[in-house]
């Protein structure tokens, strides 16, 4: 009687451990096979225009970095330049007086739409802001975005 009881206890413990191991393994698997969500499906934390964003970074880039880095932001502005980067394309919005600019790199599934854009187009682009820094090479502020999508 006693031994049947302890056997059933052992069984229960073994099942619980097994559940933990499987759940843990599945959790780790999900974390490491996870991909970034489509930016098009994400809500923007800020909506602004290119000139205002550039000015904010020029005034104080460490404060602007704290506010915007790794946030999803929608930026509206005129395309100053398109640049080929390997098989992808980057879009730039530039402040013509200071040369400071925002550059947008696109999420893989949205590169095709970005390639349709031309200089002079006014567009809204949503993406993850990587922050800005003063470039000693260009002597101007540069702000970079990743995983972008065109919203308008």
């Amino acid at each position: 009687m006693q031994s049947t009881k302890s056997k059933s206890w052992l069984k229960k413990i073994a099942v619980i451990i097994l559940i933990f191991v499987v759940a843990g393994g599945l959790g780790i698997y999900l974390i490491f096979t996870e991909k970034f969500e489509d930016t098009g499906q994400q809500k923007a934390a800020f909506t602004t225009n290119a000139d205002a964003l550039i000015r904010e970074f020029q005034r104080n880039d460490s404060a602007a970095n704290k506010k915007y880095a790794e946030k999803i932001i929608t930026v509206t502005g005129q395309i100053a330049e398109t640049e080929i980067a390997d098989t992808t394309i980057n879009i730039k919005m530039t402040d013509t007086l200071t040369g400071s600019y925002i550059i947008f790199a696109f999420q893989e599934q949205h590169i095709k739409e970005a390639k349709q854009l031309k200089e002079g187009n006014v567009v809204s682009i949503k993406g993850s802001c990587s922050g800005g820094s003063y470039s000693k090479i260009l002597e101007s502020e540069f702000i970079t975005f990743k995983r972008c999508v065109i919203t308008k």
């Binding site: 991909k35 992808t88 790199a105 800005g132 000693k136």
Partner: protein
């Protein structure tokens, strides 16, 4: 008045460009590969790197925002930017300033593929170290394409995350820098 100012600025910039022979791009690419046999995930690229080459002096440079490195996996990107790794809140950029040391071997006026030796200072994670590498320079008309591969010892730059000790992240990741100057 504004127009005159802009005109002056443009003339000034043109003169500067002629004197310096400095070419720049804002879409240079850095690939970062710290994969090991245990982990294929620590791999990223940044396609919004600022780079320059001065064909007269042989000065070369690049500037990269650390948070611009894009990983396929969100967790890996978070670790990369975290305080055990690049600590990108504290050290937001990586920069390189250097020089082509065998400039005579590269003819920027003649189409061809040239091997260049480059030495300079790589700064990241608050540490500056000298790096010496070779680069391939392809001249095609007005276009200049440059490519270099090198590896860095993370330990030298004070990066010692637990994942490195566990063999999941390479101790000396491969870095490649490609820049197209038009």
């Amino acid at each position: 008045m504004k127009k005159t100012l802009i005109l002056f600025a443009m003339v000034g910039l043109t003169n500067f460009a002629i004197a310096q022979k400095k070419r720049t791009t804002t879409s240079a690419i850095i690939n970062f590969d710290a994969t090991t046999s245990l982990d294929k995930l620590p791999k990223a690229d940044n396609k919004t790197v600022v780079a320059s080459i001065d064909t007269k002096t042989g000065n070369v440079a690049f500037e990269s925002i650390i948070k611009s490195f894009t990983f396929a996996n969100p967790k890996m990107q978070e670790h990369f930017n975290g305080d055990k790794w690049m600590d990108s809140d504290k050290y937001p950029t990586a920069t390189f300033t250097g020089k082509i040391t065998n400039l005579a071997a590269v003819n920027f006026k003649k189409n061809g593929t040239y091997g260049a030796n480059v030495t300079g200072d790589l700064s990241m994670h608050g540490v500056t170290k000298q790096v010496t590498t070779t680069a391939t320079i392809i001249v095609a008309g007005k276009k200049i394409n440059t490519k270099t591969d090198f590896s860095v010892k993370l330990e030298d730059y004070g990066v010692n995350g637990g994942a490195i000790a566990a063999g999941k992240v390479s101790k000396d990741p491969k870095i490649s820098v490609v820049a197209d100057f038009k």
